[in-house]
Subunit: 168 residues, 2 copies
Amino acid sequence: MQRYVVHWGEMGTRWGLNRSVAQMHALLYLSAEPLHADEVAETLGIARSNVSVGLKELLSWNLVQVTQTLGDRRDFFVAQRDPWEVVRIIVEGRKRRELDPTISFLKECAAELALDRDTPAYAKDQIAGQLEFMETLMGWYESIRILPRKTLLKMMRMGQRIAKIIGD
Amino acid sequence: MQRYVVHWGEMGTRWGLNRSVAQMHALLYLSAEPLHADEVAETLGIARSNVSVGLKELLSWNLVQVTQTLGDRRDFFVAQRDPWEVVRIIVEGRKRRELDPTISFLKECAAELALDRDTPAYAKDQIAGQLEFMETLMGWYESIRILPRKTLLKMMRMGQRIAKIIGD
DNA sequence: CTATAATTTCTGTAGTTACTGAAATATCGG
DNA sequence: CCGATATTTCAGTAACTACAGAAATTATAG
C-alpha cells in the first residue's frame, strides 16, 4: 500500500495534480473506510493545513467526497472508487483546461484571419487545418463521452473488429 | 501569428512542455520555410542557448526535424506540420510517460499482493480493479492507434451512429 | 592546420510553486 | 455565551524549474 501511494503521487505530478494531492487520493482510494484529515496528514507525513487544501482540490475535482459520522464533528473523506469514474473525471478536466481554450482560441484566430491581408497564406492554412482537426477530434470525444459504460466497454473489447465493420 | 505563438506557449505549459519550447514549435508550425536557431531566438526574444535546448527537446519528440541547405553550415528546422501527426505524437508521448509506467507498476503490485497476507482485501480489490480497467483502456488504444487515418476519420465522423451499430 | 562560425554545455540567478507552522476563523456541545 | 475541537487562511521559507550569458566544444572553409 505504501508503495502504491508513493507511486501514485509520482504519477499524479505527470497527470497534472501535485504530488501530495495525488497521494491523498491514493490513500483514500485504498482505504476501506472514510478517513478524516488528521489521519491523512499523519499517514502521509504532511502538514495538516496542506491536507486541508489538498482535499479541497480533490473535492473540487469530485475525486473525493465528504461524509459525516454520527457523534463526530470531523469531516470524513472517501475517494471515488470506480476507476472508470476516476479516469472520466481526469480526462474531462484535461479537456476543459487544455482542449476547450485551444479550440475557442483557434476559432477567434480563424475569424480574425479571414479579414486579415498581412498574414501569409501558409500560416492561415496551418491554423485552419488545425482547427478543423481539433473540431473533428472534439466531436468524436463528445459522442464517446455520452455513451453508457456498457456500450463503451463493448466497443473497447471489440478492438480491431470495429475497423472491419467501419471500413466497408 | 504573434498571438498564436503566445497562446500556444501558454497551452504548451498545460500540455507538459515548457513555454518557450511550445513557442518554438508554434513559430515553426506557422513558418512556410525552415528557420535556423538564430532566427528563432531573435523572433521569440529568448537566449540562443535556450533555443538549442528547446529544439533538441522538440527533435526528441519528433515534433521538429532538421534540414540542411546547400552552402549554409547552419541547421534549419521544420515543424511537424500535420495536426494529426502532432496530436498522435503528443498522445503517444503521454502514454509512454504516464500510462505505461502505471500499468507496469500495477502489474508488479498485483503480483506482489497475490503472495501478501497483510494487505487488506479491500485494497487488493481496488488495485486489481484498476489494473483491469487500465488494461482494457490500453488495449483499445492499441487497436485505435494502428488504424489507417482514413478509417479513423470515418469512425470519428460516424460519431453517435457507431453506438447503434455496436449496441445491438 | 588555423581561423571562424555554429552549437552545446555549464553556472548563477530569477521566478514559480509547494509546503510548513502559526494565527485566525468556524462549529458545536453544554 | 463559553470553551473545546476542527478547519481554513496566511506569511515566510524551501525546493524546483526555466532562463540568460559566458565558456567550451564541435564543425567547416580555406
